[in-house]
Every structure is written in C-alpha cells, then in structure tokens.
C-alpha cells in the first residue's frame, strides 16, 4: 500500500511504471511487439527524443521553451556531412564543428531572450524560421550522405548488443541529472523557473543562466541531430520536424510543469519511451488513418489521466 503511494507521489517513477505496463500489455496482446529486438529499437528511437528533450527539459524548467529544436536537428544533420573535413579519418572534427554550430544557434536564442527581452517562444520560433532560410541555401547540396565514420558508428553499432544511441542517451541522462540535481546551476535554473524576480534578487544572474541554458539546448538538439543522421545514414530537410512537439510532449508527460520551476529529467526519460511506444503501438494496429489518429490521442489522454495530474495551485 505504501509502495503504491510512493509511486503515485513520484511522477517519474509513475511514468516508468506506466511504460512497463504498456509494454507488458502490448507484448501479450500483439505478436512480436515485445520481442527483445523491438524493445531495443524502441529504446533507440526514444534516445533521439530523449536527447533532444534533454535541452528542452532544462529550458522548460527555467520557464522558457525552445521551438527551434526541430530546425537545429535538421540543420545539424544536413550540415555535418558538408562540413566534415576529408582529412580527418575519425570524423570527430566534423562532429565537433556541427555541435559548435548547434550550440552557437542556442547561444543566439539565449542572447535574444536575455538581452533583447524577446519572449523565448518568439525568439526560438524566429530562429527556426531563420534556419529554414539557411536550409533553402544549403539543402540539396550534393554531399548529404554521411561518410563520417564516427557518425555511422554512433548510428549503427551495438556494443554488447546495446545500440550506441542508447548508450549516448545514458551518458546524456547522467550528465543532465547531475546538472539538475548535483550542481549549483541546476538549483538556479529551477529557482528562475519558479520565480525569476526572487531568483534575480537572490543574486542569480538571469542573462548568464539563460545563455547557458539555451546553449545547452542547442547542443543537445545538435547531438540528437547527429544521432538521427547516423541512424538514417542521410540527412534531409524535415528530418528534425517530428522532434519539436515530441520533445515538448516527453517533458510534459514526465511530469515537468510547462510553466517552469518544477520537474526533473528523470521524468522526461520515461516520457520519451512512452511516446515512441504509443506510436509503435498505433502503427501496428491496422485501421484507417483517421481511427489511428483518434486511438493515439485517446491513449495519450488516458496515460495522462494516470500520470499527469497537476499539483494543486
């Protein structure tokens, strides 16, 4: 009884339990769903969302939002093959360059939000529009197939049977969780998210933390872009689009308040898995597109009823 109570009081844990339940039920009712290979693949897909949502979680915790995540993923996936220098056999230089670009985009977002006082939602939306313009220029370039060995390794290899993407996600999770819960800066993000005025008067610098956060968000989106590129071996325009809403949905499904100040990445992790699981579940059901869409929405709503109760105001 007490254990049940603990679970219900702990949104991340609750979401994990939900994921497990969905997996169990689906495995028993749908042939092949619970196959090890399939679950592994779902985790791999969740890794992309999870990594993109890492930055999104941080930004949302601080009371912001990043609508440029999808565009940054696309830009990274398209640019990386173009900018990977041929003389570097490891491909790491290309990765570093691509990540710096992604981080730079994040810094610009942060600067707009911090110094121009543009609401983050507008700043990052405008940034996404800029990046579309950039894509009009660079897309259709002739070298979009990735030959970068490090990227391919990341997208294709499975050390000890675990996809590298999942390993990368584990590393990202560890870093983000430490950042939020074990470093001073995490407590500052949360304070800003809950009450920016009080945080500022307590000596927390808003511009600095805003810059850092959006930079991190850009960085993680870039990382997700590289992983997607590796998994598909090719970038194309629009490859990042699905990750904008899913990254936000994963964060909110994980119990983090969209208004900031409350939540943790520990909830986003199962949130991401829950999303891909639901999508996969709907995919294998044979129904018309309309009915599949309805089922997907209903399922999300039903899961939300269990996990997403907002704390009393």
């Amino acid at each position: 009884m007490n254990a049940v109570k603990t679970i219900f009081r702990n949104p991340p844990l609750l979401t994990f339990v939900l994921v497990a339940l969905v997996w169990l039920v689906a495995s028993f009712t749908l042939r092949g769903f619970g196959a090890y290979g399939h679950l592994r693949y779902l985790l791999e897909l969740a890794a992309v969302i999870g990594i993109a949502a890492a930055g999104q979680t941080l930004v949302i915790l601080m009371g912001g939002i990043d609508l440029s995540v999808g565009a940054v993923i696309t830009v990274t996936a398209i640019l990386l093959p173009l900018i990977s220098p041929a003389w570097d056999p490891t491909g790491l230089v290309g990765i570093a360059l691509a990540l710096s670009i992604a981080t730079g985009i994040g810094v610009l977002n942060g600067a707009g939000a911090a110094y121009l006082r543009v609401p983050p939602i507008i700043m990052t939306l405008a940034m996404a529009t800029f990046l579309q313009g950039l894509l009009v220029i660079v897309a259709g370039g002739s070298a979009v197939t990735v030959s970068n060995p490090a990227v391919i390794l990341l997208g294709q290899s499975r050390p000890l049977g675990v996809p590298s993407g999942v390993l990368l996600w584990l590393a990202v999770s560890a870093v983000v969780l430490i950042l939020i819960h074990r470093m001073p800066i995490g407590a500052r993000f949360l304070a800003i998210g809950a009450n920016p005025l009080a945080a500022r008067l307590s000596g927390v610098s808003l511009p600095r933390n805003t810059l850092i956060l959006y930079a991190l968000s850009g960085f993680f989106a870039g990382l997700a872009g590289i992983l997607v590129l590796g998994m598909n071996r090719q970038g194309y325009v629009g490859i990042g689009d699905p990750y904008l809403l899913t990254s936000i949905a994963a964060v909110v499904l994980g119990g983090t308040s969209i208004l900031g100040g409350r939540g943790t990445y520990a909830g986003t992790i199962p949130g991401a898995i829950l999303l891909v699981t639901t999508t996969a579940l709907i995919t294998v059901v044979n129904a018309s597109p309309g009915w599949r869409s309805i089922m997907f929405g209903t399922l999300i709503l039903a899961l939300l009823l269990v996990s997403g109760r907002e704390a009393r105001r």
Binding site: L67, G112, L116, R117, V118, P119, I121, I122, M123, L125, A126, M127, T129, F130, Q132, G133, V136, I137, L245, I248, A249, V252, L253, S257, I258, L259, S288, P289, G290, W291, R292, S293, I294, M295, F296, G297, T298, I300, L301, L304, L305, G308, R309, E310, R312, R313
Partner: protein, 321 residues
C-alpha cells in the same frame, strides 16, 4: 478626476490605459500597412481591401481563440485540427437537410462542445492544458479524416461569394467579433477569465467561479476556432481535413507577438489582433518587395524578433536615461 466623471469615463479611461506598452507594436503595424499601401495602392480599393482582410480574417480569429486561453493561463495546440474539422463539417453538412444554417449551427456546436470538453478535462481533472490539447489535436484530426478522407465537400457558391467575395464582409465580421469580445470582457465572467488567469487563488477568494471561467474560455476558444474553419471552407469553397495545421503555431506566435504572456492575465486582445495583422501583412509586403524565398525566411524572422525587441529596447533605454 471627479470633474470628468461622466458615466462612460471610467470604462473609456480603462480602455485607453490598456493600450500601454503596445505603442511600439502599433507603430510597426502601421508602418507595414503604409508600406503595403505604397507598394500596392490597390489595397485602398474596396476589392483589394476585401481580399486582403479575407486572408487575414481566419488568422485573426484563431489568434483570438489562442489569446483568450493564454489570458486565462492556458494554451491550446488543437487550433489547427479544429480549424480543419470546422471546415470539414461545413463542407459535409451544407448539402444536407438543413442547408447552410444547419451547417453553420453544426460547426458552431462542434466548436463549443469540443472546447467545453477539453476545458472540463483541464479544469476538473487538473491536467496540463498543453498536453490535453495535444492529445485532443490527434483525436480531432482523426475525426476530420474520417468525415472527409481527402479534400472535397460542398459549399454553396453564394455563401463563398458573400463571405469571401469582393465585398469587405470578412472585415465587418471581424469588427462584429471584436465588439462581441469587448462586450464579453465587460461581463463579470469575461473579466473573471482575466483575473483567474493572473491570480487564480485570489480570484477564487474574490468569488470568481474560477473553474467555470476556465471552461468558458475553452468553449469560446473552440467556437472561434471552428468558425475560422467555417470561413476557410467558404473562402476555399471546400473542406480539407488538414488545411488548418499551420494555424496552431501561427496563433501562438501572433498572440505572443501581440504581448500576450504565457502565464495568464498578461496582455490584451487588441495586441493579439495586431500581432496577427503583422504576421499577415508581412507576407504581402515581402511579396511586393520581391524577396526571394531565402530572404522571406530571414526577413520574417527579423521582423518577428524586431517587433518585440525594438520596443523593449527603447523602453529600457528610456528608463536608463
């Protein structure tokens, strides 16, 4: 102060005061409108004006729908699908037994009903609006796809010509909607939506029915959105189960551009409308300036950021002096 206490004084003074902070946006919008009129003087003719306002009208409606919720401390991601569903229902019911009035009624009721249900879920089950409406958006899309799996359906020509012909009916409708909004905002429930968005506990303690206000906000928002869908159907002469998709993000962008805050209670409808007008007129101005697509994207981003940043910077620069 008491000297000017004619009966309308307080209302007028409050209304004037609410323009505060919007001066910059008004200027930007006015500048774009003037630029547009210079580039295309035809806008000053009845036909040109009608066409321009028709293209702006649905965005204005959904922006109002979004702003209404944001003022109440909510948000909706179901705008686009609900526009589509409104269009689909209009296009599938108007050749039915009850004709055009039946169709309009069906659209309005659908919007109200969907809004009410979402509002009730958000208010009573205390679920975050953003994700409830996200889930709702899938369900609504599904319904639209089932009703009309591909673009089609029927809208009588006379309706299309009345609403979206060469007369400024759309603009007049917008004026009517705005007047209705003003009237609504002058009801206790209307102000309650505002108050409950800014300070729910305080509003509750003051006797505002906070939950009812929230449901009302969602219901009205649903109604406006579905009616935008009806207009789109009339404008295009048909229904399309996915035509509304881009409206979701655009409605949020327009509202925020117009100074409506994320956390509730902050902002004004007039600002939101200006935001939507800016987004709309910007498209035409960029066309007449002959921008190639790359420049369109870059300029669009710059205009959006600039419209918010420049007034803000001016303000802080003035404060510093």
């Amino acid at each position: 102060m008491s000297a000017v206490s004619s009966s309308g004084w307080l209302y007028g003074a409050i209304q004037r005061r609410r323009n505060r902070g919007l001066g910059g946006l008004y200027l930007v919008v006015a500048a774009f409108l003037i630029l547009y009129a210079v580039l295309f003087p035809g806008i000053l003719s009845v036909g040109g004006f009608s066409k321009f306002t028709q293209n702006w009208f649905p965005l204005a409606l959904v922006t109002m729908a979004q702003a209404l919720l944001m003022l109440n401390g909510g948000i909706t991601l179901a705008i686009g699908p609900l526009v589509s569903l409104g269009a689909v229902i209009a296009a599938t019911t108007m050749d039915g037994m009850f004709g055009v009035p039946g169709g309009i009624l069906a659209v309005a009721l659908t919007g109200l009903a969907i809004g009410t249900v979402i509002g009730a879920i958000v208010a009573h089950l205390r679920l975050p609006a953003i994700i409830v409406t996200l889930a709702g958006s899938f369900i609504i899309t599904g319904v639209a796809l089932i009703l009309l799996p591909r673009p089609g359906g029927f809208i009588p020509d006379w309706l299309s010509n009345t609403l979206a012909g060469h007369t400024p009916v759309a603009f007049l409708l917008l004026v009517v909607v705005l007047l209705l909004w003003k009237a609504f905002l002058a009801t206790p429930l209307g102000l309650g939506i505002y108050a409950a968005g800014d300070n729910p506990v305080g509003a509750f303690r003051s006797g505002v029915p906070v939950e009812r206000a929230k449901i009302a906000a969602f219901a009205l928002s649903g109604l406006l959105t579905a009616l935008a869908g009806l207009f789109v159907a009339a404008q295009t002469g048909s229904g399309d189960p996915v035509i509304g998709a881009p409206f979701t993000l655009n409605s949020i962008a327009a509202a925020v551009l117009g100074g409506v805050g994320f956390l509730g209670g902050k902002g004004t409808m007039r600002g939101a409308i200006c935001g939507s007008l800016l987004l709309s007129v910007m498209i035409n101005v960029m066309f007449f300036l002959g921008f190639p697509p790359v420049a369109q994207y870059v300029a669009q981003g710059l205009i959006i950021v600039g419209a918010v940043a420049v007034p803000e910077l001016l303000k802080s620069w003035r404060a510093r002096r």
